[in-house]
Amino acid sequence: MTENRDSEIRERLLWNVKKEVKCIMEEAVTRKFVHEESSSVTSLCGAVEACLLFGLKKRVLGLFKNTTSTALLQKVAKNFEPAADIAKIVTAQEIKMDESKKSVDNNKNHSKRPTLAYSSKYLWIRVALCQKVLDVILDHLVENANKYYEPHSLVADPCDGQVLASLLVGPCALDFTKMKTGDHYWTDPPADELVQRHRIHSSGNHHIRGPDSPKRPGLQVRRHTSSSSEEGMRMTPQSAKDYVESLHQNNRSTLLYGKNNVLVQPKEGIQALAGYLSLHQGNEGLTVKWTPNQLMNGCSKTEHTEEQDRRFCLSPNEMAPRSHRYLKKKGVLYWDYAVTVYMDEIVYLHCHQQPDTGGTIVLVGQDGVQRPPIHFPKGGHLLAFLSCLETGLLPHGQLDPPLWAQRGKGKVFPKLRRKVPAGRMKQDSLNTQAGSVESVNSMNGSIEEEEATDYVFRIITRFTPDLMPPEMLYPKAKSGLNFPDISIPWPFKTGFGKPSLNEIPMATVQSHTPVSPDSTTTIAKAVSNKVRPVYKVPKQLVSHRTSIRQLCDEMKRQIISRAFYGWLAHCRHLKTVRTHLSGLVQQTITSSTIPQDASEGLTEDLWQQFNKDGVVTDADEIYRLVYHGGCSHGIRSQVWPYLLGHYEFGSTQEARDSLDHELHTEYEVTMSEWMAVEAIVRQRDKEIMAANLAKLSSESTSDSSGKALPSPFMRKDSSLSNDVFMDSVDVDDHIVHHPCDTLIEETSSVTTTPSEQAPSERSIRTLPLEKTDSFDNQIITTNLTTKTLIKAVESPDEGLGDSKPCSKRDSCSLSSKHDTIESQHSLEVDQGMPLPEQEEFYTENDKEVQDMLMVKNIIITNPSVDSSDTEQLIGTETSANFLEHMEDALSVGDAGSHISASHDSIISPHTPGSPASHASNGGVYSAEFLEDVGLNLHRIDKDVQRCDRNYFYFTPENLDKLRNIMCTYVWKHLDIGYVQGMCDLVAPLLVLLDDESKTYSCFCEFMKRMSHNFPHGGAMDTHFANMRSLIQILDSELFEHMHQNGDYTHFYFCYRWFLLDFKRELIYDDVFSVWETIWSAKHVASANFVLFVALALVEYYRDIILDNNMDFTDIIKFFNEMAEKHNAKQVLKISRDLVYKLQKLIDNK
């Protein structure tokens, strides 16, 4: 007998440990880390402690009074080293705790820090677990069990002991973090947990659902629980969690009354069950809910419930149709018993008070059907409920007779001492006439009659023809279209048996003169004489007939007006939709099944069919297939260039090849351009770096920095200027000063060398792509060579049409001319010519100071070219004078040519369009330009280096490709420059196409749409505005929620989604399918498909957002944490459904 009991205990102890281990491992997996003070750690420790204490040889070990296993550790520590280590740590911690406790006490701070108490529990087990030796110690204990344990104990059990030790291996392998306080977790549950909770709490058919949820108001007819009691009782839970939460105070309804352990007999032939009774006031009026305790406690598996389950199974027909995933076994039945009663369906309230058992309330509906009786426990709960109910009914309804207010005691029952059996019988017979009386109550009634005080209250709704509730007249914007469901109950109500029909108008008539509880004791007394017959007075009967007719007419009118207003609201709604949203989707709806089922998408076989002779023509069909079903991964690299517009549909293989070839060469040319500049920038950076290092060291060593740090306007040593790049070493703010003279000399010399001829040639090759200005520029630069001097003179005449480029060109060509001629008399021309030009330039740009500096800051492309000392010297001197003499227009001598030359370089950074012109510009760049390029390169490097390093594709080699593409694009779009996020957009394309120039071209196509989303474009705000309208129309409940919770209808949390086309939100495979869907959607359904994907993401989690009452910060956190965890397939499906829904809405004229 005891053996059995022992083994039972062992089993239970072990089961507990298993459960806790499972919990903690799950936590570790879902959260990635477990906190030391997490409750699961504590409960695991508790379970282990219980195992260890069971059957411990206390006497033998001399541990008499100990109720913890700490003493055991001390014993074990003597022979086992790991245990000794743990014991040491434990002692140390205990001392520390005592100290801090003392200090806390000393500070008179009596609120003991909870963490201390927390961690002192099962301290050694906790420490051992965190030190990862708990399993080892337990192993030791099991091996030496005979020393410490009785034979019947768990540890000594040959089987269970081993199991226990091995169970703990898992938790001991975990890393526990001490980072956070325990409460951190439940105040801010991570997104994963929210999703998981939602999944667990919602039943099978309602897990995460799309926008077509039955919960949603708006265009759908809301399902109203019909008034029959049968339905009320068998309420299907939307989701268990929703339901349980709806029982508490929340923003949708106010809890007026709550009482636990209220007995209700939900079904015939079943014992009364204890449950939680609550009274709510919400939008739909007063609701009484009763929930079996089993549901409130989260369906715990107690023996008690199992027993009851067995009993419940006697009614098998109840079992069948439910399909809840989670609550399959037990909870399902209880859901059938949960009671929800809408008070506006209730006409009578029967009260039976029994001195020994508290009281019973029976609610009787307007159909005469009784709801299951509610048995309150003793102690005035019934009265409390009634008074809450009475308050809740106000202002539109009341109890009749009203409760009495008694000083000091609050509300009391009206003093109705005499019972009138006749009246009761009459009521009962009325109910029987109605044909649907449950026998329960009348039986109860007759039994209790002798002793109990029984009341019948009528619930009067102040519903009069003159005083219509405002919601009847003005259908709420939210539920503007749900008129049918409201219109149903009323005719239904009137169509009942005569007795009940008689009573409704009485109620309404009576309510004209509402009876206040205090003033009208007389009426209450009258009631007390005959429990309810006040209304049965014959003289009133005459007026009933007319009032019925009046009421019926009124109802008719209301139905019609309601229908009308509903229709009107619908029309307005549709108008808004059409005006604001019709542009977002295409008018024609493309079927997913015609001509063939597209759910499989574009498969390889289909692609082969389309691509038979190398010419793909049926664009529409391909778009349709990809939109509805995506594209097989194997053929993506072939299909994407078409989808992106890199290849044209209908092009031949040869055309495509030549296009690729052409783009490839162009790509290489562009690359060589920026690479040349990059070399300079690199060099410059190195120098700056060296300068900074030098500065650092000089700062720390001596004060000789005076010479090392000249002001920007200070002249440097001519010896220093020997090396072109040494100059910049001295420059404070990274601006390179360079003599203008050297510049000219060098450019002319450079251009003659064959190696430097290359850039200009290359740029000539790319000429057709350039704008005309750059064309001019190139001519000029080529003209800089002495060989083509004549041409240079001629070139100004070519394009005298427009003023600005022309004048620039003028000065340039002049300068080159002067440069080459280098004669004294040309100076006169010089003095005359460049000056006005210069002024013109300044006024145009309106930033003279900057330009002045720029004139000074010129650098040479070719670092390999050495210039002679003399030239340098001249240059140095002249440019030194240059600034000083700026006001005097010109310096003497050669200076003239320098100025005009510098104009050339001033102009170049301002030439709109292609930066390629700089490369061909004889290799002359302004410092500002180089600065710009350098900054962009720096940013690109930073981002490329950290772009998706976790993805297998991005090896250093492939990162270089990514960088090349990025730099080439930015080089071509220097006006925009690199903006963070561009890398993210290239990455998936590169992964898929794995070809630099093709990826580059596709990326350019892609950016035609995407670049507007970046801060310089205005598309983001449009997206946000459209999101707002869409969500308002398609999910008004969610919109309302967003609006009310700190109003985040600005949709900033979608920023990254739109900027990167969801690239960061999804894993690579999903990015592919979402992107191709977006691209083809443009031709099939909507050019703004991104909006619908974004909307689908919000909708996918709408219930979580609503249930957790998320505000802006919550939602940002949620979506950031959910990144790469979305179910893309489902999201895409929802997005297509949303498009379809909007199309239908617009179509529905």
Partner: protein, 207 residues
């Protein structure tokens, strides 16, 4: 569920791109370092609850995109911030130079009494240092803010920096509360448990 903190501080991390804002934040909130972070796009935040002088303080730390192009978006978050960490990279002189610009930015967009602090991150990479500690300190002094060199990678000073900032904010707040008097205490920044979005007007009339 009731909030269990006494104060909620909203902090902001700003600085050039790639100086390690996200890493600093990750070190502080998760006590871990990850070298494979991608650039921050848009905005994110992390939460950590700390205890100061017996008060539980929930730090909500916003991490922003570094590139100045995104300033229009990030500055929207300046307004609610009570403390701002300006981060630069000691191996990148430019990011240090830009601290001035960031400060100017704060002056334009943040509330005037926001607590600031300058962090020179990546101090574990001393061999590639471009900005001396002295320089950092001097800059901080010139703006009248605190300064620390940190390393998210080596976990140097990160914790201390945030605690210092939080302490400063709390001290400032306490001073304010004292100034406004005891009776106005609840109007300060202290959050009551029922405060904020989760309304709970418990109306039950029975026990």
């Amino acid at each position: 569920m009731a909030k269990t903190y006494d104060y909620l501080f909203k902090l902001l991390l700003i600085g050039d791109s790639g100086v390690g804002k996200t890493c600093v934040l990750f070190r502080f909130s998760e006590d871990a370092f990850n070298s494979t972070f991608i650039s921050t796009i848009g905005i994110d935040f992390k939460i950590r609850t700390i205890e100061l002088e017996g008060k539980k303080i929930k730090l909500q730390i916003w991490d922003t995109a570094g590139q100045e192009r995104f300033r229009t978006i990030t500055t929207a978050y300046y307004r609610g911030a009570m403390g701002i960490m300006l981060v630069y990279d000691i191996t990148n002189d430019k990011s240090f130079e830009n601290i001035k610009n960031w400060i100017r930015n704060i002056e334009e967009h943040a509330s005037s009494d926001v607590e600031k602090m300058i962090l020179g991150n990546k101090c574990d990479m001393n061999d590639r240092r471009q900005v001396s500690k002295d320089k950092g300190e001097q800059l901080a002094i010139s703006f009248g803010v605190k300064f620390m060199e940190t390393s998210a990678k080596a976990s140097i000073n990160v914790e201390e920096a945030f605690l210092t900032l939080a302490r400063d904010i709390k001290a400032k707040m306490d001073r304010k509360l004292d100034a406004t008097g005891q009776n106005n205490k609840n109007q300060g920044q202290q959050l009551k448990k029922s405060d904020g979005k989760k309304r709970s007007g418990w109306k039950c009339q029975i026990l």
